[in-house]
Symmetry: C3
Subunit: 265 residues, 3 copies
């Protein structure tokens, strides 16, 4: 993959301002919405069963994140994923803590039938969703990214889409092609919701790119580059979040040509 | 309207510290609470049907914002609005994304029977609630403020209260009198929940003013003036939010005499 | 109590990184998670009845905060508290606004049977939970800390645990021993969720200390010391929050030896 493709995706995101319908956990809704606004997308959080299907069909992309899922929001997620699939709207699945908890593991596994354009998660979650692992510790991964490479490829084969394994070096694959994205900052893992916001940015990028692998890679690169700038300006995990949003806003297509891509087959 | 009336309202807000009961969407609860604390009010978010009616009756003002409404919170909103109306507690309706989604449009329309002291929304939402438009794009307006002037006046006639149409220049009317408020910053629209927090500040101001038109105008002016200060200090949308809260806190009555008011009939 | 014990608790927190299961209100989830991450703990917010009991049994500690409780989360709280008690996982109760609202008062009183390791609240809430008062004004206390001293001791006698009364000077007792913690900053009360995040930090500390009184005191001292640093760096309540998180992160065991402890029996 060429970084010039990421640059084009970044400019498309700014120009087109996709409407991203987020069904996500209540811990991270604010940061997710602000990250989408920062990159030029339009967030809308709609998670009532009475509305989720209707809204997913008219959105540019949909994010389903099961972080604080319960019966009502699970139903909304099923309706949104089905509606998106029917309407041809790309959707992203973030299977937070899947593997460690039975209820959400069943839910996320069932959602795969609606063929998410991208599954974004940490290594433990990807292993669990692919049926190869027992999950991590709470929301944290206990496995390394490369350990999940085979599971990610297998999962991509099942969904027909892309699987992104986030970690110190991200691994993103569509089963055929695999790209690794380096860079970033450890402060991302000390900011609640940074990974979840990344899932939403993947949705925004996928809405404006023909190739979901490019979209997923662009989102990861954008997040990593912004984190590096923010880490330089921040005095700790508290001041990092605002600086990260500022940097997400400031980075343009040209900046994304400096992404640390490591093609891997 | 004289800006000295806004100054008096600002001082009353600080002196009396009204208790504002917020039934609002989960994306913006934190910023809303912090904005209320910044101006000197006391926020309380209570949205269980078992408690909402009981609490609304003892609050100084109530905010109902349908941003992430679903069956349980819709019931709580109906109970709170009815209780507030019965107890003579002023309440504010923020009909987020009404028009675009059937479920919340029905809910918000039904709530009008409890006669909100103020309806605060963007132009598309006001048009939809007044029965004159189809809503915007997600949470964003696709109509300009002036396009909603007639609908706002008609809606004010129905509720017997004030209707505030937020936009680059805000338009606030009670059907007879109309005031426009200029100033502010585009960064407000890039901070999730700034508009929703404004709705809560309207509730706080209405609790301490005899004339709800003065209260609604004071809240819009306070938000706009604080945004101008924050925009000068911020490096982007991430650092803007904290600066905006600091400025909301710092502005006193004297500062509000510099509001950009444009009387319009 | 010696401040060297607080220093040891601080280092244990960093070394062991306890997994803190939070069932807390939606206004403060983000700040709570970020405060836990800042001090070195691992937060996880799981509040579905389908998952809460399962997760509480494998967590290092559990926080139950009734701030925005409703039927579904009340059920999850009951399951989590019971599961924690059965599994020997320490849990903390934060009875937000108990006394003022009947539904949550009944809930919180019922949860006492599961013997929380710590109850953390303001004076009005402690008085109400102990059956000696009618509650405060919304989420704010209308009583002083010392007024709740006898109620706190009586409540500690009932639970067999610790009761912490947060205020300008915190009062923390296990019925036999009482410690007061001074310092802090009034800006904590102008930041929504600072008190709720303190409850989560109490849970994190109790997970890594043998003596829950030491854990509760360490959490209060850590919060107060960080607030003093943040207040010096902040320009108002908006910029305070991020600085407070930075300071929570930066303070090590040595710093906690400078805590303002006032033994009181």
């Amino acid at each position: 993959m060429e970084t010039v493709e990421l640059a084009a995706a970044r400019e498309a995101l700014r120009t087109r301002g996709p409407l991203v319908h987020c069904l996500t956990n209540t811990v991270v809704q604010t940061l997710t919405a602000n990250a989408l606004l920062a990159v030029g997308a339009a967030p809308a959080m709609v998670d009532a069963p009475e509305e989720a299907g209707e809204f997913a069909a008219v959105a540019s992309a949909v994010l389903v994140n099961v972080g604080t899922v319960h019966a009502r929001t699970a139903e909304a997620m099923r309706l949104a994923a089905r509606s998106a699939a029917t309407a041809g709207v790309p959707w992203v699945l973030d299977p937070v803590a899947v593997g460690g908890l039975a209820y959400r593991t069943t839910l996320a596994t069932g959602l795969l039938e609606h063929r998410p354009a991208v599954v974004r998660a940490n290594a433990s979650e990807i292993l669990a969703l692919a049926g190869s692992g027992a999950g991590g510790r709470g929301v944290d991964s206990t496995a390394g990214t490369d350990e999940a490479a085979a599971a990610a490829a297998a999962l991509a084969g099942r969904t027909g889409g892309v699987v992104a394994v986030s970690g110190p070096v991200d691994l993103i694959t569509d089963g055929d092609r695999t790209v690794r994205v380096g860079g970033g900052s450890a402060l991302l893992t000390r900011t609640t919701g940074a990974g979840c916001a990344l899932g939403a940015l993947v949705a925004a990028y996928v809405a404006v790119t023909d190739d979901p692998l490019v979209g997923a890679v662009a989102a990861h690169a954008h997040v990593a580059l912004a984190a590096e700038i923010a880490a330089d300006l921040a005095d700790g995990p508290g001041t990092f979040a605002a600086q990260w949003l500022d940097a997400l806003d400031a980075l343009d297509g040209d900046a994304l040509t400096r992404a640390d891509l490591r093609d891997a087959g």
